[in-house]
Point group: C2
Chain length 206, copies 2
């Protein structure tokens, strides 16, 4: 029963939540569960969009995969010791990943100690001051910990989670399903796409 | 004072709203306005996420650019004569575009008569039965009307709107800002990205 938690906070970058959310919800397997979690009933994105959370940081602590979004709010998050102290993540048992400046939170939680990582260009310097060697790549994984940089690199991050918790066929299918037509997705893929568009009742609802 | 309306409805595809929304909100120009509009105070996405609208179909009728999202809900939308009758779009004065199965709505509104268009693989046949010649391309524009197919083809659609209503520099900058690090976005872009990350007060808030 794979459980995935996407951690949000105030002033997050909209697409860094919703691309992950949408892709992860395309996996239609029994008991596949994706939740948006946070420390409040709702968090507001950097553009002012309120998002109701489905669970708490405790749900992240109990999930099989924990993914951190990004945004200006990461600067406040890494200074919020009360918030940080709620995390009890375990890289032996959980997949833990971040997009863009979400890597600052991984670093603050000690998860990037001695590891290379990637991040968004505007967060590179700060991540380096936290003692992390930052590499100009879209995606870097060390065993169960992964960082991705640049919003569309969510494809690598989500693909990594799907391959680990489902399989490589689901990964390929989910990532194919969002490519531009004629550039990775084709009209004759219509049959192949069917597993993604099962009954809505089988999909994550909140 | 460029006004952009993104039209949503029940059972829309999450990322087909939020990628557009996020990208369009990266343009920081005076009076640049982006609104999510619909026929209800809120619409629920195909994964069950409720989204509060910022305006009505009348706001779409008065916008400089009108963009239709996609999702299973398009099948209901094109049968809803009351909903369809609220649109008073004018392709002489407005940019009008769609992602994926949003093209079905453009067709139903008569906006694709005699034109080629693109769509999502699972909507190709239905769009053809509506008399549209469907071409396997990510993006097709005829003067002020454009269709895009495959979620990530929103980049072409949004780029087209930004170039028309702002300029090609904003287009390049906004699209660059979401590319994977090392594959279109680079750490030495940090200065170049500054116009995107101005004071939050200058950004769209709702």
């Amino acid at each position: 029963m794979p459980k995935i938690a996407i951690v949000i906070f105030d002033k997050f970058t909209d697409v860094d939540l919703w691309l992950m959310w949408d892709l992860l919800n395309r996996v239609h397997l029994p008991d596949w569960s994706v939740k948006i979690v946070g420390s409040s009933e709702a968090h507001r994105s950097v553009t002012g969009i309120p998002v109701t959370t489905h669970g708490t940081i405790d749900d992240a602590n109990a999930a099989d995969a924990v993914l951190f979004v990004s945004g200006p709010g990461t600067r406040d998050a890494i200074k919020d010791e009360v918030w940080l102290s709620q995390f009890r993540l375990n890289a032996e048992k959980q997949l833990i990943g971040s997009i863009c400046s979400g890597s600052l939170i991984l670093a603050k939680l000690g998860l990037l100690d001695g590891k290379t990582a990637t991040t968004y260009p505007t967060s590179k310097q700060l991540l380096e001051t936290m003692g992390v060697e930052v590499i100009e790549k879209p995606f870097i994984a060390h065993e169960n910990i992964a960082t991705a940089g640049g919003c569309l690199a969510q494809q690598y991050l989500v693909g990594w989670v799907i391959e680990k918790l489902a399989d490589s066929e689901w990964r390929e299918l989910v990532l194919r399903s969002i490519q531009p037509v004629g550039e990775g997705l084709f009209f004759n893929d219509v049959e192949r796409l069917q597993p993604l568009y099962g009954p809505v009742s089988a999909m994550a609802t909140v």
